[in-house]
């Protein structure tokens, strides 16, 4: 399910070195749990994002394993340290093999 998947990430544009910043991420995804049934009573197959990784200049901030119990449009809020200017990379891994990536830059000064 590659249609309609849109990552949205909120990262401050500037920070001081060593600052703690709060990052909010959201990706639109229906997160089909594999528990629901359609009108004919057939189980709708599971289709979720199973992993989310946030990195800064190649170093991991958070690595989350998702199960079907995560709500539609998975949302995460967490805190990171920024030692220098650079890029945050956010990656979502879909059950169907798709990988969604978005990048945000932050300048330290």
């Amino acid at each position: 399910m590659a249609d309609g998947v849109k990552p949205r990430v909120k990262v401050p544009k500037q920070a001081s070195a060593g600052d703690t910043i709060t990052i909010k991420t959201l990706i639109s995804h229906k997160m089909e749990s594999g528990q629901r049934k359609d009108k004919e009573g057939n189980v709708i197959p599971r289709s979720i994002i199973n992993r989310f990784v946030a990195e800064f200049n190649g170093e991991t901030v958070i690595d989350v394993t998702l199960e079907p119990a995560i709500s539609t449009n998975p949302y995460f809020e967490f805190e990171a340290v920024v030692p220098e200017s650079g890029d945050f990379t956010f990656t979502w891994y879909d059950d169907d093999g798709d990988v969604y990536t978005t990048t945000k830059s932050i300048s330290v000064g």
Partner: protein, 138 residues
């Protein structure tokens, strides 16, 4: 207060239900938690799980976990068809070992967060969440 026959029966039935319910819950917890801890019994303290007491919509229940010094935090919903909810692994650039997300709960149940600390020990916190409308579809 004088106990009538009806009251005695009701009390006995209530006690029986109360005795059976937690047992079922614990079996489910132990199984899913043990896969995360490798069989180690988690201690308490050092971890905070924040969840609403009453969630109107089980499809999206905001939860927050925080455990300073943790390497990883796993969240379990004991009453769900699939108890594991999510596992957060913290990297070197995580400013705090905390995260918030939104989860699905099938019904009123206990949510458990287990943290793996840097020294290899485990701590757990649990919260009862009352759910008005379950979030597993039909």
């Amino acid at each position: 207060m004088e106990l009538t026959r009806r009251q005695t029966l009701l009390t006995a039935a209530g006690a029986a239900v109360a005795a059976v319910l937690p047992l079922r819950g614990y079996a489910a917890v132990e199984e899913s938690v043990a896969t995360f801890t490798g069989g180690v019994e988690p201690g308490s303290g050092g971890i905070t799980l924040t969840a609403p007491e009453i969630a109107e919509n089980g499809n999206t229940v905001p939860v927050e976990v925080s455990a300073p010094g943790a390497v990883a935090i796993a969240v379990f919903a004991l009453g769900n068809p699939v108890p594991p909810v999510a596992t957060f692994n913290f990297g070197p650039l995580a400013a705090s070992q905390s995260a918030s997300t939104r989860i699905r709960l099938a019904g009123t149940q206990e949510v458990v967060a287990v943290a793996k600390m840097a020294d290899g020990s485990f701590v757990a916190d649990r919260k009862e969440v009352k759910v008005t409308i379950g979030g597993c579809g039909g």
